[in-house]
């Protein structure tokens, strides 16, 4: 339960912090930290416009997307406290339930019959497919290292002892952060602030969404960020007591948001054709973690 509460709180500020960081980095004052949440609240109050081409798929998709993110949130643990749901192989459920949401957001984009949205849908499907093995090899290695198969048990059993395991935690953070960027369609894979529909991925898929549905999609996006942030936090906090764990949760989420803001301020988006290479490279980082785990466990003997 604790994890859900923390993730929801973090998600309220997360995107605001990113935007604020970007504003400050570019010399502007920028909107308040609560602005994204206020935007969503206003969207919930607005009417909607549906495209004539769309069908019921377009209407149910945002709901299912949102539900899938909520469901994924429920399995994320926090240190020694389990997620609302915790079972062997819950990380598989986590990945697949997010895939369900993606499935529906892709077909909703295709439902509009717009060539731009189809293009975004195609890219979203391709990139998330390439990111999949990185996540599974990472979780598989951690399962091997800890001897457990559920999020909570894996994270609780991670011992940050030797130098090599620090290196592993750093690599794992990198992998999870990048997966978070791919899943939430941020730089360097996708630039949400690009001005041209041709170069967008996620933003172009939701061109035709409006009102309540768009609010749901935004909320799900904010939650997704905080969920991946929580996973990264879990890599480090292990079983330390709550009075230290909860502040460090917010500290790490804050650092992550600032880092994303800085990356987006000082980096250009990759060329579309280079994205798959970058994402596949992520899989090799995961493999590096795997070999590191084999080293720690001395399986090479």
């Amino acid at each position: 339960m604790l994890s859900v509460l923390l993730i929801v709180i973090a998600s309220i500020f997360f995107t605001g912090i990113i935007i604020r960081t970007k504003s400050l980095a570019s010399g502007r004052k920028g909107p308040g930290i609560m602005q994204p949440v206020l935007d969503v609240i206003r969207l919930f109050r607005k009417g909607v416009v549906y495209s004539e081409t769309t069908s019921f798929v377009f209407q149910i998709a945002p709901t299912i997307y949102f539900a899938s993110v909520i469901m994924a949130m429920l399995v994320v643990p926090f240190g020694q406290s389990r997620g609302v749901l915790s079972f062997n192989g819950d990380f598989i459920f986590f990945a697949y339930v997010l895939a369900l949401g993606k499935f529906f957001s892709i077909i909703a984009a295709m439902d509009t019959g717009s060539s731009f949205e189809g293009m975004g849908a195609s890219r979203e499907a391709l990139y998330s497919m390439f990111a999949e093995p990185a996540f599974f090899i990472l979780m598989g290695s951690l399962a091997l290292l800890s001897g457990h198969t559920s999020f909570q048990e894996i994270f609780a059993a991670l011992h940050i002892g030797s130098q090599i395991s620090y290196a592993l935690a750093a690599l794992a953070t990198f992998v999870l952060l990048m997966i978070a960027m791919i899943e939430s369609s941020r730089m360097p894979i996708d630039d949400p602030k690009t001005h041209l529909e041709l170069t967008m991925i996620h933003e172009v898929m939701i061109l035709d969404n409006s009102g309540f549905d768009l609010g749901l999609i935004f909320t799900a996006g904010y939650l997704k960020f905080a969920i991946y942030g929580a996973l990264i936090v879990n890599l480090f906090i292990g079983v330390i007591p709550y009075q230290y764990a909860i502040p460090s949760f917010f500290a790490i989420q804050f650092v992550m948001a600032v880092a994303i803001g800085l990356i987006e301020s000082f980096m250009a988006r990759f060329r579309m054709s280079h994205n798959p290479q970058f994402i596949v490279a992520l899989t090799s980082v995961s493999l590096l973690i795997f070999f590191g785990v084999l080293l720690i466990l001395q399986k090479f003997m």
């Binding site: 416009v49 391709l126 091997l144 309540f212």
Partner: protein, 663 residues
């Protein structure tokens, strides 16, 4: 018991006789009735086996073959029930499907008699426990299904696909025959028990691999898969549904059956099957993602699912080798559950694809679009099938894939470095398969059903008849039952697995996993609950809001037309480009000449080719053809020469007998 078996084949023969005299409108109903009777009889035979009671019978088949053992254990019963269910939905769907076409009565008679025989032969394949009789049933199954495939025999493409299938199935029979004769030559018996004694006293690997090639051809493991993408699109949809749903699974049944007799070398065989299966899965779904013929796409997707089933089998074998009941249960259990699941959603997808074909007369998805408006029920059915086959919660595909995943993770905890590597890579492979199937099915569903119609069709498509929809609804109900009470099915599979290997009679260690599988269904329910809550909330809010409709946002362009929609080809093009060493694309077009200022009308065609067919099978066949040409003088078309061959043969036999060289 034995009477029931006799009743079934007598009913079949009678029915074929009766079919000749029934008016063409009722032939299909007669066939459906007979298949229903046969299914009831064989299911009644199979039911006791589900709870662990093995049914043993024997049938006397003349002095040459002697007594043939019929044995229905849990494994056979599981497959028999799947066969019966899919054949039944297939025949009822087929009634409606064929109604839309006018076919001459003799053609229908042949078609429905073959269907009845086809169904019964598949059931026999699962029951017979004698190599010789098994091969007969197997051959009957292959022949009838081949004749069912070439229903539209006036199309050259269909005939070619049929002959391709026929030839490949006979290569499979050759391997199976070699296997059975190998056992016979060493033990002197064709019965299946002889295989067990063979394995006890000989090396396990080679004989198993011979059988694996034979059965793998049927199942469609790479590189033995090349008949599937030809035969499935060519067959009428109710046949492709049954073929992809069940006949391919009989290859899996055969592999399982041989595994029950294995005695050693589990680990190496498991590793071979596991690696091959991961590659099969990835290769199948990669090809599925780029093809524009949606039935061919489904055929490739069958190959992918065979890969997933094979991964389960591999885990199970390694589990036996490691002495791990958990891996044995999760691997084989996941594989068997996926056999059921795949037979359900794949037949569902083929039926709904058939409905689309019946209304639109094309298998090219690039010509379609926007069908969700004119065929909403078919669209919803296809969507359910697509989500389920992608292995996404809350449908049944997720349950079996999840079990296989857990099996893989269980394997990671083993002590052997090579196994750990294999399992981690398989884990990554299975996740790639999952991601690719999301890509494939969003593309297919999106292009066929969503957006706007891409071309003007000859007839305006309409929703298909109830007769075609009801079998599909029934399949969906069964799919949901697997999704929400998987422990019931896993209980049955557990019984079958216990019979397969008495080594694992103690199932206490797996109780924890049985509970976990039950948990999955609860979590899926929770997911549905959350989605429903959000939906209700949304409906309440939306009531107070203004809702308008307008044109799709064209990014400033105000005259979009349906040709500007994203096509399926462009949807999967980035993937095809990245993996162009595997997905071979051939384009035919004329380039613009340097001085051509006003280009004339020209055409552009591009096709994806099967890597293995192009680089392995076609060269092999052309070499074979080349060398076979040297022997063409024997088959020269002159009757006189053929008579001489006969005389030479008779003389040879006479002389050899006289001189006691053969007896």
């Amino acid at each position: 018991m034995m009477e029931m078996v006799n009743v079934s084949w007598i009913v079949t023969l009678l029915a074929i006789f009766v079919l000749f005299f029934v008016p063409s409108g009722f032939k299909a109903y007669t066939a459906a009735f007979v298949i229903l009777v046969n299914s009831l009889i064989t299911s009644w035979l199979a039911f006791p086996a589900l709870s662990g009671q093995v049914v043993e019978l024997s049938i006397f088949a003349g002095t040459f073959m002697g007594d043939i053992a019929i044995r229905i254990d849990g494994l056979a019963a599981w497959f028999i029930l799947i066969i019966n269910f899919t054949s039944l939905t297939g025949v009822f769907y087929g009634i409606g499907y064929l109604k839309a076409y006018t076919n001459p009565a003799p053609k229908l008679t042949l078609h429905w008699s073959l269907f009845i025989l086809f169904h019964l032969s598949m059931v026999w394949v699962c029951m017979l426990q004698n190599g010789f009789a098994f091969l007969l049933a197997w051959e009957l199954m292959s022949l009838t299904s081949m004749l069912l495939v070439i229903f539209d025999h006036n199309k050259a493409q269909t005939l070619k696909a049929g002959i391709n299938y026929l030839v490949q199935m006979h290569i499979s029979v050759v391997f199976l025959t070699i296997g059975f004769i190998w056992v016979y030559s060493s033990t002197g018996s064709f019965s299946f028990e002889a295989i067990r004694s063979f394995f006890q006293s000989n090396n396990n690997i080679w004989l198993f691999l011979v059988f694996f090639v034979g059965f793998g051809l049927k199942a469609g493991f790479i590189p033995l898969h090349s008949w599937l993408p030809h035969a499935h699109p060519a067959a009428p949809s109710h046949i492709s549904g049954v073929m992809s749903g069940v006949i391919v699974k009989l290859g899996i049944y055969g592999i399982f059956r041989i595994i029950t007799f294995l005695n050693s070398d589990y680990i190496i065989l498991g590793e071979i099957i596991l690696s091959l299966s991961v590659l099969t899965g990835i290769y199948g779904i990669l090809n599925a993602s780029v093809h524009r013929d949606f039935k061919r796409m489904l055929a490739y997707c069958t190959i992918e699912n065979i890969g997933i089933i094979g991964i389960g089998i591999g885990i199970g074998l390694i589990g036996i080798g490691n002495g791990s009941p958990v891996m044995y249960y999760l691997g084989f259990g996941g594989a068997l559950l996926h056999v059921l699941n795949h037979s359900l959603f794949k037949s569902l997808l083929f039926y709904s694809a058939g409905s689309v074909y019946q209304q639109c007369h094309t298998r090219d998805m690039e010509q379609l679009g926007g069908l969700i408006k004119s065929m909403p029920k078919t669209a919803a059915i296809f969507l359910v099938g697509a989500v389920a086959i992608g292995g996404l919660p809350p449908f049944n595909g997720f349950v079996s894939e999840f079990i296989i995943y857990i099996g893989l993770i269980e394997g990671i905890h083993s002590n052997n470095l090579s196994q750990i590597l294999l399992f981690v890579l398989s884990l990554a492979g299975l996740s790639v398969i999952g991601g690719l199937s999301v890509l494939t099915f969003t593309k297919t569903f999106g292009v066929i059903f969503l957006g706007q119609p891409r071309t003007a069709l000859h007839h305006k498509p309409r929703e298909v008849s109830k007769l075609m929809l009801v079998p599909q609804y029934i399949i969906i109900v069964l799919m949901l039952s697997v999704a929400f009470i998987p422990h019931f099915y896993m209980q049955i599979i557990g019984n079958a697995l216990m019979q397969m290997s008495p080594l694992f009679a103690d199932m206490n260690t797996i109780v924890e996993y049985a509970n976990m599988i039950q948990g999955i269904s609860l979590y899926s329910l929770l997911l549905i609950g959350i989605a429903a809550t959000v939906w209700i909330l949304r409906s309440i809010v939306m009531k107070q809001r203004i809702q308008r409709t307008a044109a799709t946002w064209g990014c400033g362009y105000v005259a979009p037309n349906s040709h500007q929609q994203y096509t399926g080809k462009s949807f999967s093009k980035p993937l095809g480009k990245i993996l162009n060493f595997l997905l071979i694309e051939r384009k035919h077009f004329e380039e613009l000449n340097p001085g051509e200022i006003f280009p004339e009308k020209r055409s552009y065609v591009s096709h994806y080719h099967d890597f293995f067919e192009r680089n392995l099978i076609d060269p092999l066949i052309s070499r074979l053809n080349y060398s076979a040409n040297y022997f063409s003088f024997i088959q020269n078309g002159r009757v006189q020469s053929y008579v001489i061959y006969g005389i030479v043969f008779i003389l040879a036999m006479f002389i050899l007998t006289v001189f006691n060289i053969v007896s």
